[in-house]
Amino acid sequence: MSLLQSKPAQNDTMPVGGSSPQSRHFANLSRFARRGFFPIITLAAVGALWEVIVRVSGVAEYLVPTPSAVWSRLTGDLGYFLFHGLITLYESLGGFAMGTVVAVVAAGVMAHSRLLERTVYPIALLIKVTPIVAIAPLFVIWFGFGSFPKMMIAALITFFPVMVNTFIGLRSVNPTTMDFFRLLDAGQAHVLFKLRVPSALPYLFAAFRIAVPLSVIGAVVGEWFTGDRGLGSVIIVAHHNIDMPTLFSAIAVLACIGLGLTGITALIERRVLFWHDSQQSGPGL
């Protein structure tokens, strides 16, 4: 009998990936730093080359500014760019949140019933294929000049990728796991919250990678049409004044916002989806 009660065989006891989510998390950070090294060096080299070419050729600043001119404009009036940047960030995130909530609800409704799927999906597709730039002026007329119309545009552009992915995610449950739930006579709510929703999370995060930068586009497009606040309006005003250093500074701040949001999304994804195949190897951005 002692033979039968032996512990699992040797080949069976070795864990495949022994590290905890936390230690892998730090490994990812340092890998991110290492991966950032070469792009930053390259970017600095391009900037230096640009500076030299502009100075030597004597191109006018209203056509191409030197990086140093952009830098001094940006750092000289950092409060100004931060203020407008934060407004754009606020509008992007607000719109992203609204669009995501509506999209997840719509996806849940569609996953629940074929009839609703056939009703909701074509409408969602219609919204997606209509150029956002064409709808933006309409929203400004309807919703006025505050942050709300910009958020609505960001929400609209966020909606479709999040909805489609969540819908696919809710449907893409491992059939064997589904069998197990059925065999144990699991209720509808258990199937939804213990199986479908967690199964949909990897799809949801894949959508976020697309939707987060899109929401910034939505906010900026909205700001173009109402020249009061935000980096979009800064760009329009700078464009009218042919104020290139300001224009480039606004672009640089927008790029930083996009990069920051994408990085934060990737970090959250790693935290939440540590169990998923996609997180076992490969980069997060």
Binding site: N11, P15, D179, L184, L201, W275
Partner: protein
């Protein structure tokens, strides 16, 4: 392999647990119709370990899915203590282990086992944690309660799946090639572990496999199915004494059974259809 008189009387006195009557299942309709199972008549007794063996596509899995009410047969009936599979499922009589461990990857081993309690609306809160610990120890995963599936090997995942199935306290354990994806070294160990665990529990086991050795090693009876359409070729009683100890595969008796089974499976193989 005729049964002895003694064996006969024991079998007759036992209570049939699962009864198949004229069970036939066809997939698809019209020209695309494929008959997976034909005319299965069979009794499985309470506490019996029964294997269903046959080549790929003989309807082994179909049979198991019909018992578990995951599939409705086109003809015939299955009764579990007079209950239909549907009723039996609602009475929560079943536990299952599949070839794919099908663990929830976002849950630790312990959380996967406690899933069975969570899905059971009338489970008692206090017993849960103690039972989970005990079950994981039983399947030999004492130190891996907080490991996630991605940190476990294939064999360990199947151990978690087995613990999860046992947590539902099933009267009937449905096992669909549970060790099918494991290597030849891990596989017999898992078989012996399963026997050890089963011997301590009054559970009827329906075990689908395509391994002759596994079927002989584990079972009281082996149902041999023919391919397409799946028909019962023979039912073989395995009269090896229990508990079955390691290295039983080396005995002459064991070799006789596997030879018999190989012959039955060979005889059942049909000529390929000329299309």
């Amino acid at each position: 392999m005729g049964r002895g008189d003694w064996e006969q009387s024991v079998v007759e006195n036992r209570k049939p647990h699962v009864t198949f009557r004229g069970l036939t299942h066809e997939y698809g309709n019209g020209d695309a119709r494929v008959t997976a199972l034909t005319d299965i008549d069979l009794e499985i007794y309470e506490g019996e370990f029964v294997s269903i063996i046959g080549p790929s596509g003989c309807g082994k899995t179909t049979l198991l899915r019909i018992v578990g009410d995951l599939l409705t047969p086109t003809h015939g009936t299955v009764r579990i203590d007079h209950a239909t599979p549907y009723e039996a499922r609602h009475q929560r009589l079943f536990g299952a282990v599949f070839q794919d461990a099908a663990l929830l990857p976002w849950r630790t081993a312990a959380e996967n086992v406690s899933l069975s309690f969570e899905l059971n609306r009338d489970a008692d809160g206090d017993d849960k944690n103690r039972d989970v610990d005990e079950l994981l120890d039983t399947v030999g995963l004492g130190g891996f309660h907080d490991s996630y599936p991605y940190q476990l090997s294939g064999g360990m995942k199947q151990r978690v799946a087995l613990a999860r199935a046992l947590a539902a306290r099933p009267r009937i354990l449905l096992m669909d090639e549970p060790f099918g994806s494991l290597d030849e070294i891990t596989r017999p160990d898992m078989g012996y572990e399963l026997l050890r665990i089963w011997e301590g529990r009054p559970t009827t086991v329906l075990f689908v496999t395509h391994s002759i050795v596994e079927a002989v090693m584990l079972s009281d009876r082996v149902i041999v199915l023919s391919p397409r359409p799946g028909e019962i070729v023979d039912v073989v009683d395995i009269e090896l004494s229990r508990p079955r100890l390691q290295f039983i595969e080396e005995s002459q008796e064991f070799a006789d059974y596997t030879a018999l089974m190989r012959g039955l499976l060979k005889g059942a193989r049909r000529e390929p259809l000329a299309v």
